[in-house]
Amino acid sequence: MDMKVNIAGVEWNNPVTVASGTFGSGAEFAEYVDLNRLGAVTTKGVANIPWTGNPTPRVAEVYGGMMNAVGLQNPGIDLFCERDIPFLRQYDTKIIVNVCGKSVEDYCEVVERLAGEDVDLLEINISCPNVKEGGIAFGQQPKAAEEITRAVKKYAKQPIIMKLSPNVTSIAEMAKAVEAGGADAVSLINTLTGMKIDIDRKSFVLANKTGGVSGPAIHPIAVRMVYEAANAVSVPIIGMGGIADASDAIEMILAGASAVSVGTANFFNPAVTMKIVDGIEAYMNKHHFETVKEMTGFVK
């Protein structure tokens, strides 16, 4: 039995990574999790310059999940390269750098800068609902998504994963568009745009009014979208959205994902990823799957 997966030419020790924004660059979680046991660490989004993010409150709990509008606060690519990459390189795990920006030029600048860095994959965030410019503006129109994919591919030395938004009419069309633009893989889903109102204060709970809904509540939507995307494109899919235990992760793989990301569940239990890695292995043994690839898209 082999837990290894190959994502766009990069071999991971197992199919489990973490969703961008839920894990920092791993330093805080390293006290709770053995980072060597993750297939990859996906970092919080990083831009060409430091971003302050949104005002607080930035998070709220919703039934079976949460909502966030952190707004991609990040220290900028310079400090990231100096501090976060060397930290992660100490571990036997792949590094996926999530890239955010406000314009095509911003994204390309970060991607070009990372071309000379020792990282394994880049994930391009065109699906953050919490920033006014950039982010999701590129993630809701197939044409715009295809164009930005093509633009970043010109500068990229590492394989490119395009992170897709569920806030679209057809996830299959979006997946096809980024594949046409040259994406080496796709990841989905980012958060669903939501809103919560405090009825006593008669005001929005989040300072940003809207936020991205994540957590177990959105898992069935994510499974459906992974399935649809898997049937539309041939590039590998990293499935995410509400994975809280191994069975959620396995469902995503059976629907068509080659690997999975664990996000909000890290907040419920910082060591949840370890249980998920073990649980997938146990399932493969029990159901006689030799490789993760055999499981991927098993349910047609």
């Binding site: 924004g21 839920t22 894990f23 920092g24 805080e28 979680f29 390293a30 006290e31 709770y32 999790v33 053995d34 919080k44 430091p50 971003w51 302050t52 993010g53 607080t56 409150p57 930035r58 998070v59 709220a60 709990e61 039934y63 079976g64 999940g65 949460m66 966030n68 952190v70 606060q73 220290p75 900028g76 400090l79 957590g215 177990p216 809280a244 909000t264 569940a265 890290n266 907040f267 419920f268 239990n269 910082p270 060591a271």
Partner: protein, 261 residues
């Protein structure tokens, strides 16, 4: 390598102190290293409520490995309501101790204000028990005559009370109590609602008094990764590279002059 974990604490006792205010002692390894001003993340046993509730530590018994939390039930069907129904022998998942805690050593040889307001009162108790200083003046503010923890404060310093409705002590807030009594201090430690902390910060800065504030914000991870619970900092923060500090990890206690609230 991983050395911290989410653990199952065991409830040792639970009692109600006032309307909506509960006190719980839990058996936990976290007690071995906990310091005044730190907090624990408490998780519900309801899968629909998945974020931790950050609750300040009220008392520490390192010998018996127990922590006391005193907390407010925030409404029906809330996580805190679930906590209030736990009884001796029940288990509760927690992570902690988290955060930096109050810098006790700064109080040596000084006249001190220990100030708490509302549900910011409880962490002042362990601080009062551990602080070594010239003069301990505990100034605590409540809504009404339900002055929970007052007797225990009296064992640990001179206590001044304020109540919003005037039913006990000075009518008004903790700053009104200080003015009415003409109190003086060289250093302040405070925890409470933001308007109270804002007033204390202004008072401390006007009078050149060193002041430590314990802040609060909605959190998701509790360990410094998600960047939900930030506060604005005066200087650019070395970790965030912007003017934001993480309350859960860099705080919750900050020198008043380093934060904008």
């Amino acid at each position: 390598m991983a050395e911290k974990k989410r653990e199952m604490a065991v409830v040792a006792s639970q009692e109600q102190l006032a309307d909506g205010i509960f006190s719980m002692w839990i058996q936990t390894e976290a007690a071995k290293t906990a310091k005044p001003g730190q907090f624990i993340s408490m998780y519900t046993n309801d899968a629909a409520k998945l974020l931790p509730r950050p609750i300040s530590i009220c008392e520490i018994d390192a010998v018996e490995e127990r922590l006391r939390v005193v907390y407010r039930v925030t409404g029906e069907h809330t996580g805190t309501e679930e906590f209030s129904k736990l009884v001796e022998g029940d288990t509760i998942p927690i992570i902690g101790p988290l955060g930096n805690g109050f810098p006790l050593e700064k109080a040596e040889g000084k006249s001190v204000f220990l100030m708490g307001g509302g549900i910011g009162v409880p962490p002042i108790l362990e601080l009062a028990k551990q602080i070594r200083c010239e003069k301990t003046q505990i100034v605590v503010g409540y809504r009404d005559e339900q002055t929970f923890l007052k007797e225990q404060f009296e064992e640990n310093g001179k206590v001044y009370i304020s109540t919003e409705d005037g039913s006990a002590g000075t009518k008004g807030n903790v700053m009104d109590a200080i003015r009415e009594q003409g109190l003086k201090a060289d250093i302040i430690y405070a925890c409470g609602p933001t308007p109270m902390l804002r007033a204390i910060k202004a008072f401390a800065e006007e009078n050149g008094i060193t002041c430590y504030l314990s802040l609060e914000e909605r959190m998701a991870c509790g360990i410094g990764a998600c960047l939900a619970c930030v506060c604005q900092s005066k200087e650019k923060d070395h970790h965030s590279n912007v003017h934001n500090k993480r309350i859960c990890k860099d705080g919750p206690v900050f020198l008043s002059t380093e934060v904008e609230i």
